[in-house]
């Protein structure tokens, strides 16, 4: 009945049968896209899958503390995976969308998005630590490792008894920024791929739907294309972020956490989910 007393599920191993089924599903979706869509739409779907994998992999780096972190009983940022991933990804998306207006160089756009996401996470981590240290009066200490893998600082002396560590150790901060970079890049890649497809195919499709004889100017279609691409990028981002959250089940400290070893599952699930949702998103104009 109660959600409070229940134990989180999830184990560390990979289910080989389910993983193979998922990969086959992804290939089937790519094949469907290859058959019904234009070559450009097919390439866009591959870009979306790569973007989804970047998001799913990047979320594993982010130090998620959840409610225990808010009480100073676990390290990490004191909120859930979905919120953190959405924050970093949407900040990256804004950066990438801004860059897309000024340049058509895909690499520049994606890197701008990554910087946006990384910046968002860096600021979040900084102020989280500020509040932990000066507001709650707790030092940063990891509970999962004896020494910080980057700085080599010992952790156990600073860890309070009965907690799993607290605050935001340096390695978690770095993990958060890396996660933000991956998430922002992935979200932006999805947005750009969808925007390209919509800019190409939407005018013809709207023409057919509206039943007007006069041609609709492409510039007027732009807001629709931007909204559609943005909404689908947000939808894909949230789906991938929540799947990553289900993979983590609860809290994670960053790349040094034993739970980080679960990343292959996150990559498989994100790739399949992105192929599925991306296929549906492109089908709006491809069918």
């Amino acid at each position: 009945m109660s959600a409070v007393g229940a134990k989180p599920g999830g184990s560390a191993g990979i289910d080989p049968v389910a993983s193979v089924v998922a990969i086959v599903l992804m290939i089937v979706m790519l094949a469907i896209m290859y058959m019904i869509g234009t070559p450009m739409a097919f390439m866009a779907l591959i870009g979306i899958v790569i973007g989804g994998v970047l998001i799913g992999f990047g979320v594993m780096f982010v130090p998620v503390g959840g409610a225990p972190a808010a009480m100073g009983q676990a390290p990490g940022i004191a909120t859930g995976v979905a919120m953190l991933a959405a924050g970093a990804g949407l900040a990256g998306l804004f950066g990438g969308a801004w860059a897309a207006q000024t340049t058509s160089n895909l690499l520049v756009i994606v890197i701008t998005g990554a910087v946006g996401g990384g910046l968002m996470m860096a600021i979040t981590c900084l102020f989280v630590n500020f509040i932990y240290v000066y507001g709650m009066g707790i030092p940063a200490a990891s509970g999962k490792v004896k020494k910080d893998p980057i700085t080599g600082d010992t952790q156990t002396e600073y860890k309070s008894q009965g907690t799993e560590g607290h605050g935001l150790p340096f390695v978690s901060y770095v993990g958060g920024v890396i996660g933000g970079l991956f998430g922002g890049a992935g979200g932006t890649l999805i947005y750009i791929m969808l925007l390209d497809v919509y800019e190409e195919s939407l005018p013809a499709m709207m023409q057919a739907q509206s039943g007007q004889l006069l041609p609709i100017p492409a510039a007027q279609i732009m807001p629709i294309a931007v909204t559609l691409a943005g909404m689908f990028a947000i939808g894909l981002f949230l789906v991938n972020a929540v799947l990553a959250a289900y993979n983590i089940t609860g809290t994670i400290e960053g790349p040094h956490d034993p739970k980080f070893k679960r990343w292959p599952r996150a990559v498989i699930a994100s790739a399949t989910a992105s192929a599925l949702v991306g296929l549906v998103a492109i089908m709006i104009v491809a069918l």
Binding site: M1, A3, A22, M231, I234, A269, L276
Partner: protein, 283 residues
């Protein structure tokens, strides 16, 4: 329009709530099609009622899912519901009058595959995972579709993408000032996502009561409907928008008071504090 909520031993079974939510939501969304048949905008508010029914169903689905302890917080369920639902809903708007049915089918497919991924690939091993994520995707699609139908009076793609601007007394078609072009869908997305996850998030715990949570879900549903109805002033005739606002206000006021009654019933004790304390009398 609402499912009758009564205290039953163990509460209403989930399948009953699911069936009621699906049918009421679909019927209400289809009632907005009367706009097209009669050529008036007055039936738009039914879309909001359909969304409220879907939100109540969704909050109960989240309850059945999250009582297994998914370990990631309740809000993530609302996010994945709308994240998968928005894709299905936007694809479905291409199919004219069949839109709600197509939205349900596409959302069910997406939700089932996402459920398989989280249950087997990500090794959650929760018995209701696949069923719940399927339901949540349908709830997300229907909620968005309901609010969309209320705000635009229609649910076809060309209606969502085309708005009107008045220029020298003539109504000219405009794509910028439309539901999609103005990105109003992004606001509705968040309104619906928060409304779906909030009721269980607020009511969970040992003192969880089904009727109280469902009443809260109607309350947040009508509150979201109110916000969506105010936004619909930009898209639909003022009379139809005012009708939606009035329906939402009445629904919200009733369900809010009912929720207060239920909360007081379940509380151990309460202090009836007033928002503005009366001035102390005497010297």
């Amino acid at each position: 329009m609402t499912v009758k909520v009564e205290v039953i031993e163990g509460g209403i079974p989930h399948n009953k709530i699911m069936a009621a939510g699906l049918i009421i939501s679909l019927v209400c969304i289809y009632l907005t099609w009367l706009n097209v048949l009669t050529g008036t905008p007055w039936f738009a508010f039914f879309g909001g009622l359909g969304a409220v029914a879907a939100i109540a169903w969704g909050s109960h689905t989240i309850k059945t899912l999250c009582s297994y302890g998914i370990g990631t917080g309740v809000p993530s369920a609302g996010m994945i519901a709308l994240g998968s639902g928005v894709v299905a809903m936007l694809l479905a708007t291409r199919y004219g009058v069949a839109t709600p049915i197509v939205a349900v089918v596409v959302a069910a497919i997406i939700g089932a595959i996402l459920g398989y991924l989280s249950n087997n690939v990500l090794a959650m091993h929760i018995p209701v995972m696949i069923k719940s994520l399927t339901e949540l995707a349908i709830v997300g699609a229907l909620t968005l579709l309901g609010f969309t139908a209320m705000m635009t009076g229609n649910f076809t793609f060309s209606a969502l993408a085309t708005g009107q601007v008045m220029f020298l007394g003539f109504a000219l078609p405009s794509y910028v000032s439309s539901y999609l072009g103005g990105a109003l869908i992004a606001t509705v997305f968040m309104l619906a996502a928060i409304a779906i996850q909030h009721p269980f998030n607020a009511c969970l715990g040992p003192n969880w009561k089904q009727d109280r949570m469902l009443m809260l879900s109607y309350e947040v549903g009508f509150l979201s409907m109110l916000a969506a109805a105010i936004m619909s002033l930009a898209l639909i005739s003022i009379g139809a928008a005012l009708l939606s606002i009035i329906v939402a206000l009445i629904g919200w006021w009733y369900t809010y008071n009912q929720y207060l009654v239920l909360s007081k019933r379940d509380a151990a004790a309460w202090l009836d504090a007033k928002p503005f304390p009366e001035e102390a009398e005497g010297p």
